[in-house]
């Protein structure tokens, strides 16, 4: 089922790419409805994918060639049309339907809900201007989720324009004042890496130039808190085809990648890949970062580091002057995905090095923060020691009392603890506003796009 949804998205994206060259908008809506037929036993799933809005202007449903449909859904069976009321609600938002494709799958299982949801979420991360509405009805239960991106950011060079979802979903710490927390992220474009196409893929008809473009996104953003320590806890790798549609299925190459990375050079204690079971539903490949044991009591008394996760986008890029028919382009994307493991292994060293570089660049800032924190801790000891030394040795009662009263303390012992805590707080939480940050009011946590009903 995912393959069919993938194909629809590829179709719309590839058509849209052509129009992007003439400067048209890429926003719009996507509706994915999945339902089972009512009956004593559920054996097949029906799926309808609909698109409307500027991103699919130019698609003529009637002109859609039957053979193109055959190409998109070679294994699918025709199915009943979806509930017109569902479609009405969609067209009310985005205008008339430009595309409606339906198909039926024999493999009916409630597990498809999570898989499709994950896929659509992954798609949404790299195609943030498309609002996605997903509804899954299985037996008597309904799951619904709308993917609407709050904060988008454009990344990419001239060759490819990427609109990424950079919304930060991490709750700000309690001590953060209103308007002082960045609710988005700042993607960093990596280097483009040309790839060589393995012979097996060439035999199947894959030619032209293939490359990958890496983009990293660290979340949450703490650029406005330069003195706060950070700790990278997770890394998620998401792979997208040339049409910005996510590649499905876990990747053995990326699962095994931690074993080939020089964690020490990057500045990490260690990396290990999440279990296969988790990978199926998580989208992409997820690594857990091993943390150092903190035995330094001074470090323990410092503010807890802000936990960050890194999203590593791997965008596959392909160009072949001899591939210009839409059906050929779609076939090429299928080929690339089919041979992806082979392609990555064929370029193992280069890809590993590229990922290593991206991680190293990302962690540079974290490592620098650590060094700064150590420097500030050492200096704080001198500052506190010197100040208290003068207060303690002064015979000027007015001065001593003024210091104690200022901190509302009764003796120099309590003054010491109070000054230490205050200095730690003001230096760690130093706020430096940045124009690039998305610092809205930190009121109630913004509306999330979580499911509206209980999951199956």
């Amino acid at each position: 089922m995912l393959r069919e949804i993938q194909q629809v998205l590829r179709f719309v994206q590839l058509l849209g790419k052509r129009r992007q060259q003439s400067g048209l908008n890429v926003k719009g809506g996507l509706l994915v409805l999945v339902w089972t037929e009512t009956g004593p036993s559920v054996q097949s799933l029906n799926c309808a994918v609909a698109a409307a809005g500027p991103w699919c202007i130019g698609i003529n449903m009637k002109a859609l060639q039957p053979d193109l449909k055959e190409c998109m859904f070679p294994c699918a069976c025709p199915c009943l049309p979806p509930d017109p009321e569902e479609l009405c609600a969609f067209t009310d938002l985005y205008g008339s339907l430009r595309l409606l494709l339906t198909f039926q799958m024999k493999d009916a299982s409630p597990e498809w809900c999570a898989r499709i949801e994950t896929f659509l979420h992954t798609y949404s991360l790299a195609n943030a201007k498309i609002k996605i509405h997903f509804k899954f009805k299985f037996s008597q239960q309904t799951f619904q989720r709308d993917f609407s991106v709050k904060i988008k950011n454009k990344a990419g060079g001239n060759q490819r324009s990427l609109i990424l979802d950079v919304t930060c979903r991490t709750q700000p710490p309690e001590c953060v004042k209103k308007g002082c927390w960045c609710q988005g992220g700042h993607p960093v474009l990596g280097d483009r890496l040309p790839l060589s196409i393995p012979p097996a893929a060439m035999d199947q008809g894959l030619f032209g130039e293939l490359s990958i473009q890496a983009v990293t996104l660290l979340s949450p953003c703490v650029l406005q808190y330069p003195n706060l320590p950070t700790q990278l806890t997770h890394i998620q790798v998401l792979v997208y085809g040339p049409s910005n549609v996510p590649v499905t299925g876990p990747s053995t190459f990326f699962q095994n990648l931690p074993a080939h990375l020089d964690c020490q050079e990057v500045g990490l204690h260690g990396l290990h890949c999440s279990s296969f079971k988790d990978l199926v539903h998580s989208g992409g490949t997820v690594y857990t970062v091993e943390q150092e044991n903190c035995e330094d009591p001074e470090q323990e008394s410092s503010p807890a580091p802000i936990r960050q996760s890194l999203l590593l986008y791997i965008f596959l890029q392909h160009s072949d002057p001899f591939t210009y028919q839409l059906s050929d382009m779609m076939a090429t994307e299928v080929l690339i995905e089919r041979h992806l493991e082979d392609i990555l292994n064929n370029n193992k060293q280069a890809v590993t090095k590229a990922v290593q570089t991206e991680l190293k660049n990302t962690l540079k800032a974290q490592n620098q923060r650590k060094k700064n924190q150590q420097k500030m801790r050492s200096a704080a000891e001198v500052i506190l020691g010197s100040s208290l030394s003068i207060v303690s040795s002064s015979s000027n009662m007015d001065f001593r009392n003024a210091c104690l009263h200022s901190m509302k303390m009764s003796d120099t012992y309590d003054l010491s603890a109070s000054l230490r805590e205050s200095l730690r707080r003001v230096t760690s939480w130093k706020f430096t506003p940045k124009n690039i940050c998305y610092s809205a009011q930190v009121e109630e946590y913004p509306e999330s796009d979580e499911p509206t009903r209980t999951e199956i």
Binding site: K375, M376, I383, S422
Partner: protein, 370 residues
């Protein structure tokens, strides 16, 4: 004793005339003015306590403490006073040293550490010899002593604060400039003039040639290049006490001129202490660029100016104090035009003893200073 069989009176007639002119023109600081600049131990303790209270108050308001120091490296904060030299202006710009910034927190901590040491020293009324550093314009008044590098020789005796008698009249060896200039007392000298010598090499040469005996009574002092604070304090102290002409003997190059300007007008970094460090009456005895032409110093000992020399020369000509020194300007413009410089040692190319036996005596006799 005098050179060339002339009487002492003839030798020093120009010097004496210069002295008379200086005494008429230059403001002399009275004792009460000198006292006005000093600060009591209690005030120093109070100043430090105010800084600490400021830090504690900031922290009580959940604000990161910072220190504001006058910017001693900015020419914009300097004005020229013909009676004093370069001085820091009131309300000058400050540099901020923050405690919440990794790039400045170490400096912040170091300054507080220094405060503790100063506080304890003042409380115990002790001295300590350490590298001299200044936090703001008040703190150099306290008894922090710097190791001196200057040398002094000639008709001069004085007593240091601990009672040590210093006699600079030894012919062969010079005395080190004291570390505690403020503590010097009982200065005794019949010197007619003081000669500031830029380089130690020249100073030693003059010592070896028995200059102070031949041109007695006189005093010569060197800061061995860019003078340290004690050497400058010493020159100032001698001027305040003896009121005799102070003549500078420097290389005929931009660096030498700059060193001479430091003695005379002060430096940007120490401008807040100008009134105790500068001697605006310093005259340029030699080596003048015009001397090179006049004496026909051989060309092979003349050195072409480098780009850096030319840049420094241009910068010197733009200094605010040059406007009141047209003769110096002329000499420097001559150097600019000729594009050459020369060291004092280049006079040895004329004759080995030219400096001590001909050049300097004639300069002094005939008033060859500007």
């Amino acid at each position: 004793m005098s050179l060339m069989g002339s009487s002492v009176a003839e030798l020093f007639s120009a010097i004496d005339k210069l002295r008379a002119e200086l005494l008429n023109n230059v403001e002399v600081l009275t004792d009460c003015q000198r006292v006005e600049g000093e600060i009591s131990h209690g005030e120093i303790l109070s100043l430090i306590e105010n800084v600490i209270l400021g830090i504690v108050t900031s922290l009580s308001k959940d604000e990161a403490p910072f220190l504001a120091l006058p910017d001693r490296s900015n020419w914009a904060n300097i004005s020229f006073d013909s009676a004093i030299g370069l001085r820091m202006t009131l309300g000058s710009s400050v540099t901020t040293i923050r405690s919440d910034c990794p790039s400045s927190v170490t400096k912040f901590a170091q300054i507080l550490k220094i405060f503790v040491v100063i506080y304890k020293l003042v409380q115990s009324n002790s001295y300590a010899t350490k590298r001299f550093f200044v936090v703001n314009s008040h703190f150099e008044k306290i008894t922090k002593l710097a190791t001196s590098k200057g040398l002094i020789s000639g008709d001069l005796c004085y007593m240091e604060e601990d009672g040590t008698r210093i006699d600079c009249r030894s012919c062969s060896a010079a005395a080190a400039v004291s570390s505690n200039i403020a503590g010097i007392r009982n200065i005794v000298s019949h010197a007619k003039f003081i000669m500031i010598v830029e380089k130690d090499a020249t100073f030693q040469r003059l010592l070896d040639d028995d200059f102070c005996t031949k041109l007695s009574p006189c005093i010569m002092i060197t800061g061995k290049g860019v003078p340290d604070v004690n050497s400058r304090l010493m020159v100032r102290k001698l001027w305040d006490t003896l009121h005799i002409p102070i003549l500078a003997l420097v290389d005929a190059d931009p660096h030498g001129i700059e060193i001479m300007c430091i003695y005379k007008y002060g430096s940007v970094s120490m401008s807040f202490e100008a009134h105790s460090l500068t001697v605006p009456s310093v005259m340029w005895l030699g080596l003048l660029p015009s001397d090179l032409q006049r004496l026909r110093v051989p060309e092979d000992v003349l050195i072409p100016l480098t780009k850096r020399d030319e840049s420094k020369l241009s910068s010197l000509l733009k200094r605010p104090y040059l406007a009141s020194q047209p003769e110096w300007q002329k000499e420097m413009e001559l150097m600019q035009q000729s594009k050459v410089k020369a060291e004092i040692q280049s006079l040895a190319a004329i004759a080995p003893d030219f400096l001590t036996n001909i050049y300097l005596p004639n300069k002094l006799r005939y008033g060859g200073w500007v």
